[in-house]
Symmetry: C2
Subunit: 107 residues, 2 copies
DNA sequence: CTTATTACCTAGTATAGCTAGGTATGAAAG
DNA sequence: CTTTCATACCTAGCTATACTAGGTAATAAG
């Protein structure tokens, strides 16, 4: 993936990956990589600030937990988060359709 | 369209809209609006600098012309531009598929 | 005792699209 | 004739956001 492709779509991806159930940051990175077939291999410096931003915005809620001596911060979608996800999915569909229309247009 | 959705995809859109034939900047804005069904209503401050950047990069070539007393700068795809467009289309397909996979994944 | 993996964090940087302002012509409205 | 609207171009500066590059810390393997 080239540089700026994600801009404006990262929130959608994070909310989407948390739709299946709560995850901690590191696991979210792996889930995104796996679910995208390796296309989204996001650095931690991308994910962690985004998770904080989303929590601050009330779309996620977090809880510290312990697993084999390592602390984890587990995030889950809030009600607002689920609503935002629906909205973002629709917006994405609109965007993707519009791009396809422009690319496909021959005249 | 919300804020940053276009980031990293604008070049594709501009190259794509010029695929059908040369256009000047203002006409490119209208073509993008029309072809996208009104989704891409881009301000001039977005298009003009992008056209300049693409020309500087050798993907576009421009030529001044006159039409009913108004000067126009008409842009056309170069050979490199056509190659870049093919590449961008493929990249877009990869990106869109990956987003769809993440959004569609339920587990 | 070093390296790798897991797991978190953030200050600063880069970039690209957008805002908001400007110039100028021709046509229509008043 | 003056104002407004549409056409047509331009750019300095703002802002948002993903990323770079650095840091901390625990466990396990070599």
């Amino acid at each position: 993936m080239k540089g700026e492709a994600l801009k404006g779509h990262l929130d959608l991806l994070i909310l989407a990956v948390l739709q299946a159930g709560p995850l901690h940051g590191y696991a979210a990175i792996e889930a995104l990589r796996r679910n995208s077939g390796g296309v989204f291999n996001l650095p931690e410096g991308t994910i962690y600030p985004a998770l904080h931003r989303l929590e601050l915005g009330g779309l996620l809620a977090s809880q510290w937990s312990e697993h084999e001596g390592r602390r984890r911060r587990v995030y889950r979608l809030t009600r607002s988060g689920r609503a935002a996800l629906s909205c973002d999915i629709e917006q994405w569909a609109t965007f993707a359709r519009a791009v396809a229309a422009v690319v496909g247009a021959t005249g």
